[in-house]
Symmetry: C2
Subunit: 171 residues, 2 copies
Amino acid sequence: MARTRLTARAAEAKPRAVASAAAPAPATPDLSLAGVDGFIGYAIRRAQLSVFQDFGERMAEFAISTAQFSVMRLARDNPGLNQRTLAEALGAETSRMVLIIDELERRGVVDRLPSTLDRRSRAIYLTAEGRKLLRRLERRVAAQDRAMVKRLRGDDKDALLRMLRNLAKPL
Amino acid sequence: MARTRLTARAAEAKPRAVASAAAPAPATPDLSLAGVDGFIGYAIRRAQLSVFQDFGERMAEFAISTAQFSVMRLARDNPGLNQRTLAEALGAETSRMVLIIDELERRGVVDRLPSTLDRRSRAIYLTAEGRKLLRRLERRVAAQDRAMVKRLRGDDKDALLRMLRNLAKPL
DNA sequence: TATTGTTATACTCTATAACTATA
DNA sequence: TATAGTTATAGAGTATAACAATA
């Protein structure tokens, strides 16, 4: 990501014909976003960007995405789920889940086994290697979550989760 | 988006060889996401997905994206900013801002005027038509924000914004 | 030399449609 | 007929690099 900080205030007063540019003020704190940052949607987007970038940096060593991590958790705790169920649980498309699991299978962390009950579907299991990797990932993710709680500076994580879940519910 | 609801519980107990599929349980409430939904990052992602989809539906008539709306707000309240400053304010890449403003200019809602102070840069202004459109958009966005506050069911929007902003701050 | 706007490229994610093999 | 997995495709968004004009 960009990792930018707003440094300019600029914006001339009225000129409707020819205009000015942004003043390169050295280290101005923030500036008037003039309202957009008062919207819940905007605040969520900025937070999500920051949190996912942080996740990417902490997981760079393993080159694992948030989606891949979630699938691994789900596969370990609900062995034998099919791809459609995994996709629905995480709010992804089944076609996307195919690619995610393709990669996890290629890395040897999950197995796709043919189902005996429904020969169209494939049951997903975490391999021994997958469980090992997942344990390492979980320590990192737990550390990130603790770091985020620290950022909350005394505010209640449970209240945050409750609010976010209420916003996430389909209308 | 997918607008999915988890309907299966499934997942057989141990079978390491051949496996089962997900049971098509009719209307099971939710099921064990077994932990991922206890992470702040996961909760933020799901909320962001839901809120942005809702935004898209409410703005379908105008075919305006969240980024375009934010640029219009910023351009109205800070007339004459250049593209780099707009990009930094919204956490976007300058190359992305070019495309966003290309489209806004094509629709006649913003003007790109040459700067007299720095002939490399272009000052962005909302047109009269842009201001008119923005007023209509703002009513819709305000309505969406009110709808989200309702979803909070008594929880404090200010607390939510404060927490999200703290999470969004670059480490 | 550095910066602004721009173009181009690539990769991820999202969204659909279509196909196959099953059911 | 419908469903699971898959493939293909197209569109957003993200991230980089490079270039011209200008500073």
